[in-house]
Amino acid sequence: MLRLSRMRWIHGWLLFLPAAVLLFAFTHLPAAETLWASLHSTLRGRRPAVFVGLDQYRTLLDDPIFWQVLWNNALFALGTIPASVALALAMALLVDSRIAGRAAARMAYFTPTILPLVAAANIWLFFYTPSYGLLDQIGGLFGFGETNLLGSRETALPALMVVTIWKEAGFFMIFYLAALQQVPPTYREAAALEGAGRWTYFRRILFPLLMPTTLFVLVNAVINAFRMVDHVIAMTRGGPDNASALLLFYVYEVAFKFWDTGYASALTVVLLVILAVLAIGQFAYLDRRVHYR
């Protein structure tokens, strides 16, 4: 008997081994190496990387661009997450009701999810083109002048947010749709019998029932807000004057334009810490409020 259970141990580990090796080599090890590299100077030509302690982090604290991209990223998250999640819920409710042409509507909402973000960014770039693009053409009809949304400090980041919301809402809608289809229709009937209005039904019954989905979607949305930079690269390259640069984009720039791996590692550590804190915090906070079926 003992031998049998030991066999199961070995089998279990052997089955997990191939995935474990790759996960370790490309997730856990690089995460640890990043921390290690962030405590060293960058290897340049003949000059080897030497241990510098927390120097990279001191540089980081004094780096105005770092604070700017951090602030940009916070704005980006706040600007995109609530809007895309709310829109996703609205879309799901619309498509779940028996309206005419709902299959077409669902397809329209979902299509951006299938498009590569770079491709979407190129289309929106054309949209935003000053005077020539569709936005200015439509604006022109109403007597608005030429705009350069991506070229001015105030509007570059919001313009990217719009693209993000457009891209993400349909994706999150799918999860709400799946959840809505699992709500028993008897709840609705019972609520109606009790004399509850549509809004009360949504607020008191449907919304709490959808909480696990909202949690799942929120976690994804937060991770995406710190992970999506394809459109920054394709549309603004962080400009003008870093007004639309996000944290991961800055990591990319520092690492692969300035080839300063030490500093890029310190920036990556900040990114990883933010992701970890947000994920843990979100679970701890929402866990208490989520209604599990």
Binding site: P30, N122, I174, L177, R227, A255
Partner: protein, 278 residues
């Protein structure tokens, strides 16, 4: 909604308003891709000039294909997506089977460590993963793009949930008939999880087709660049502001995926749903 409308004593106005809202939102959402289609299929003079009598043309696609090696980029993406998805299937199946049906010391800690990848995705580790690939001599290869993505926490999680929901009796019955551990996996678990594989496959293919940052960093030649990076190189360097050609190239880059989506729309949506339910 008709039924509920009567239930809540709802009126026709509200129903009409809902429909109108849904359509307006749909139109707004469809506008950018429709706009790109218009521009790509019309001569340059009509790119922002909307005239229903404008002649249709494929010249923009010809010009895009002549200006950049898109077929090669397609081939690269195809190789990348198929190898990554196939490897993910094998590795995630084995690991998920271990977590679902085997007792081994350290299992729970190992599973928690797997889930870490849901949060720390490979995109965020581009700096060190680049260094690793440089050490392995793999910079600028398709294998290097795929390697960090091949063991997927999401896939392991999804398949583990599925395997756990399969009755143990089936497993035991097969064992009594003399099937080995792998035999049971192959003959009992995998066939029963087929819809989940379809779902995961579609999600994985569209995800890796669209991947951009890591391939951008790790590739730098025509022979390895996937279509997304190829498109970006084309749009930013080769073209300047010829929007007709850029739109044609953009449509080309997502064409196969988009056509597949339009044909298998129901399966796609259901797959994304299935993958999202945990």
């Amino acid at each position: 909604m008709n039924q509920t409308a009567t239930l809540f004593g709802g009126d026709r106005w509200l129903a009409a308003l809902t429909t109108l809202g849904a359509w307006l939102l749909a139109l707004l959402w469809a506008l950018p891709p429709l706009f790109a289609v218009w521009t790509a299929f019309h001569p340059q003079a009509f790119s922002v000039h909307f005239d229903l009598t404008a002649p249709l043309t494929l010249a923009n696609f010809d010009r895009a294909l002549a200006a950049a090696p898109f077929p090669r980029y397609f081939l690269n993406t195809f190789i990348l997506v198929t190898t990554v998805t196939a490897t993910q299937f094998v590795l995630c199946t084995l690991a998920a089977y271990a977590f679902a049906r085997f007792e081994f010391p350290g299992r729970d800690i190992a599973f928690a460590l797997v889930l870490v990848q849901l949060m720390i995705m490979p995109d965020t580790l581009i700096v060190q993963n680049y260094a690793t690939m440089a050490r392995l001599g793999l910079v600028d290869t398709i294998l290097a793009i795929g390697l960090p993505l091949m063991a997927s926490a999401f896939g392991i999680f999804l398949l583990r949930q599925t395997f756990k929901s399969i009755p143990k009796e089936l497993d035991e019955a097969a064992r009594i008939e003399g099937a080995s551990a792998l035999g049971v996996l192959w003959r009992v678990y995998v066939p029963l999880a087929k819809p989940v594989y379809v779902a995961y496959g579609l999600v994985s293919v569209s995800y890796h087709w669209n991947d951009f940052l890591w391939p951008l960093v790790i590739t730098n030649s025509v022979e390895t660049r996937p279509i997304t990076v190829g498109l970006q190189v084309f749009a930013s360097v080769d073209q300047g502001i010829d929007w007709s050609v850029i739109c044609a190239a953009t449509l080309l880059s997502c064409g196969p995926l988009l056509v597949g989506f339009l044909i298998f729309q129901r399966q796609f949506v259901q797959s994304f749903m299935r993958a999202g339910i945990r």
